[in-house]
Symmetry: C2
Subunit: 128 residues, 2 copies
DNA sequence: CTCATTGCAAAACGTTTGCACAAAA
DNA sequence: TTTTGTGCAAACGTTTTGCAATGAG
């Protein structure tokens, strides 16, 4: 593979991830892809996700033991997991500032950080 | 079960988790338990972990798709994942203050947060 | 044509469970 | 005795892989 060649299915999966408001579970990605391209197999979704991850345009987000995927390159952000409905959202605010290279507790050199907030999403907070 | 009865294996697993400097993977827990009680089966480790989790003295920590376990009740803390050696450590500092009930982005009610720092642990930072 | 990509089924992996037996009360 | 805990092996859900067939260049 010299220049990246695109296939319809790969494009659909990329688009599905790009449009999502938060990281998606594999089952979700499969369902959304199938609504555009009926008959897509689960293996293709996994293979394409691996490809996109290796290539860097997508990355996995593990949350509560479930692996989800989201498009990369959307700026620094974090995730909100709703304890009521289980959906995961992207939050574009970051409550901390930890410059790369910060040293914690005498020796832990921080390169990156990841924050997950748990609570109730707007819909669930309104409901009760 | 009225009063909690203790068995040797359960005690060993509790102690292994209590002593660890960070959350442990199941394989680690098995290995450390087997060094005290040869012949322990993997199922026993899983069953005991489930028991301890239900009981609240232990909880799972999912990190990079791997499920680890640590003792509960050790105060608010976060985790540091070394990108070089793969070990996970507990950090007793918390870089943020997010009181329960804080509302983000118009509607996300935060109940808890979880932070993972990525970088090099003291040993790996020293090595290079 | 050649080579990448696909669906399917099988395999692999981590985790859970059924069951008969051992240990504890 | 009854009850709880155990090892083993089978079952289970998720992810990966082998392979023959399809599609693209």
């Amino acid at each position: 593979m010299t220049a990246p060649r695109s296939t319809k299915q790969r494009d659909v999966i990329s688009r599905v991830l790009e449009i999502a408001e938060g990281p998606l579970a594999v089952a979700d990605i499969l369902a959304r892809t199938q609504s555009d391209v009926p008959g897509v197999g689960l293996a293709t979704v996994y293979r394409t996700l691996k490809l996109l991850c290796d290539q860097g345009s997508v990355h996995p987000v593990t949350l509560d033991g479930e692996t989800r995927y989201e498009a990369s390159g959307r700026g620094h952000h974090h995730h909100f997991s709703c304890t009521a409905c289980g959906r995961v959202f992207t939050l574009h605010a970051c409550p901390v500032s930890i410059p790369s290279g910060t040293v914690y507790q005498g020796g832990f050199v921080v390169e990156a950080h990841e924050i997950t907030l748990y609570g109730r999403c707007p819909a669930c907070a309104a409901t009760g």
